[in-house]
């Protein structure tokens, strides 16, 4: 990208005045840094919908937003074919600011000053987007969605719809009632992040606790009994390893 080229900017903030202000500032900076606001959104979900089919160079993202927060949005954006450089904007968040400093992630504090914004845009133009692992480290709590790329499109999978996650060779698949998705994530990290929601059945499968509707003993005539979990909404049954069985069973018992 040459220096004279116009920078395509996306603004994501749930507060209208905050978006207006960034708009004004970007307009002021246009002579020094040619730019155009190509998309605006009031939260993470809308932003992901808005960015589809657009080439965005820089995303200015508020951190505290309803629904999907700014950090989760940035994590999903890294899965795009041409992810935009992300600059976080925050009013005041001691924790986040400290983490940004540590990881050299660019951020602006509200009220944003024109000169700071200019410097951040110049930097963003030449630097690579923050790595997904760095963003993962910034997130407090778990994501609300998982995302994957399919034929150039970014798909969002609401966590509540995922019945189980299964590791297969290089990939992890997420199963919902309607279909399967290929994820570029590790099962171990998923297990850590969503420990409240999923329980491990065997080495390569995590199942949503509320998706289990019962257990079945396999009708084999060998001495070792094998248990399978029966899931809501899908025909396949998942085997439970002997090592995990006591844990899974005690969980099923306490739930009644």
């Amino acid at each position: 990208m040459s220096a004279a080229q116009t920078l395509a900017v996306m603004i994501v903030d749930d507060e209208t005045p905050a978006r207006l202000r960034l708009h004004d500032l970007l307009a002021d900076l246009a002579p020094e840094m040619p730019n155009a606001v190509v998309a605006e959104a009031a939260d993470g979900m809308l932003a992901l919908a808005a960015i589809e089919g657009l080439a965005v160079d820089v995303a200015l993202i508020d951190i505290r937003m309803p629904g999907m927060d700014g950090i989760e949005l940035a994590r999903h954006l890294t899965r795009l074919e041409h992810p935009p450089a992300v600059i976080f904007v925050t009013a005041y968040d001691g924790y986040a600011v400290e983490a940004f400093e540590l990881n050299a992630v660019d951020y602006l504090v509200k009220p944003v000053r024109a000169q700071r914004l200019l410097a951040a845009l110049q930097k963003a133009r030449h630097s690579r987007p923050a790595a997904p692992q760095v963003l993962a480290g910034l997130q407090q709590g778990a994501r609300s969605h998982l995302s994957c790329q399919e034929r150039g499109r970014l798909l969002l999978i609401p966590l509540a719809e995922i019945l189980y996650l299964k590791a297969e060779l290089k990939y992890v698949t997420a199963r919902t009632a309607s279909r399967e998705y290929l994820l570029d994530e590790s099962l171990t990290h998923l297990e850590e992040e969503f420990a409240e929601r999923f329980i491990r059945l065997h080495r390569s499968a995590l199942v949503a606790k509320d998706a289990i509707i019962g257990f079945e003993r396999s009708a084999g005539d060998d001495a070792e009994t094998q248990w399978h979990a029966v899931l809501r909404g899908v025909p396949e049954k998942l085997p439970v390893s002997r090592r995990q069985w006591p844990l899974v069973k005690s969980y099923a018992k306490q739930r009644g």
Binding site: E15, T16, P17, A18, L20, D24, P66, K110, P111, G141
Partner: protein, 332 residues
């Protein structure tokens, strides 16, 4: 000298003296089995005396507080001793007691001693909660506004300056008023009308940022003009309501505030929606604990603060805070 009209003080005297009687009963009894019987016998003496003296103190409390502390304390001791002696004499007259000089002095001494123990306890307590300490505590507890709110508001005002300079002016004036209130000396009670005005200014500023997402319903009925409340009692609660109830949600939400006077009590109710996935409100508990402690410093046991989460008929959840204050007097 404690405020003998305060319910907390009365309760402490009642419990304290009964505890003393309980100990005395144990000493008199041969074993644990007749302990209760001794206590019941004693109660016939202790309770009438207590009630008489508590009423006397409540009536003369203001007078006692105007005297030098030692004069006041001496008067309390004399009253306790004299009333005990009088009761013994009355029982003799009714034929329940043999009377006599010996009985009379014994009762007076016991009652005087019990009064002395209680006075000593209140003196110790007053020292532990001395005004200087209480004031420092109040200053520390009076909630400071969230930096989050300040910077977001400034940002919103900045965004208005070009498009709507007049609204920006009003907003800055309101912000200035809010900070004037925050930097005031926080010890004295303030008229409720002032606190309500402050809350309205605060909510106007939040509305600037949040627009249609924030709705507010006020219910102010029959509130006397001269009613006074601790400063910044409601603003921190409203700030919580917005931070935890409105901001985390895409949907518009309503914060409701109701005031009602019931007898000699002021009831304040606040309600805000609990958005799904809003998560546990850790900071919220801190603000609530903070206000609860301030209420205790101002009113002892006569004020209370309750919180609860209720499920509405349509399945949504709502967080409610209720504060009950005595109208009028506070300890400090």
């Amino acid at each position: 000298m404690p405020d003998f009209r305060n319910f907390g003080v009365m309760l402490r005297i009642l419990l304290g003296v009964n505890l003393l009687a309980f100990c005395a009963a144990l000493m008199q009894s041969a074993g644990v089995s007749d302990w209760l019987q001794h206590y019941v016998d004693m109660a016939a003496w202790v309770q009438p005396l207590l009630i008489f003296n508590l009423s006397l103190l409540a009536l003369c409390g203001d007078l006692l507080r105007r005297l030098a502390p030692w004069v006041g304390q001496a008067l309390v001791l004399v009253a306790a001793a004299a009333s005990a002696a009088e009761l013994v004499d009355f029982w003799r007259f009714m034929g329940f007691d043999d009377g006599g000089w010996q009985r009379l002095s014994r009762a007076a001494l016991l009652s005087g001693m019990a009064a002395a123990v209680m006075l000593f306890y209140f003196a110790l307590r007053a020292r532990a909660f001395s005004p200087a300490l209480a004031e420092a505590r109040l200053q520390a507890l009076t909630a400071r506004i969230r930096p989050h709110f300040l910077f977001n508001s400034l940002n919103a005002v900045l965004s208005l300056i070009r498009a709507e300079p007049r609204r920006a002016e009003t907003a800055l004036e309101e912000l200035a008023e809010l900070f004037r209130a925050l930097m005031r000396d926080h010890r004295d009670l303030l008229p409720l009308a002032d606190e309500i005005a402050l809350c309205r200014q605060y909510l106007n500023l939040e509305k600037l940022r949040l627009g249609d997402r924030l709705n507010v319903e006020w219910g102010v009925v029959d509130i006397p003009d001269d009613l006074k409340v601790p400063p910044l009692l409601l603003q921190p609660l409203l700030e919580n309501a917005v931070y935890y109830g409105i901001e985390p949600s895409n949907e518009p939400g309503t914060v409701r505030i109701r005031f009602a006077r019931k007898g000699n009590e002021l009831h304040i109710g606040l309600a805000n929606p609990c958005p799904a996935g809003g998560g546990a409100a850790g900071g919220n508990h801190m603000a609530i604990a903070n206000i609860r402690e301030r209420l205790a410093l101002y009113y002892d046991l006569e004020a209370r603060l309750e919180t609860k989460e209720v499920e509405l008929k349509d399945g949504r959840r709502e967080y409610r805070v209720r504060i009950v204050l005595p109208c009028g007097r506070a300890k400090l």
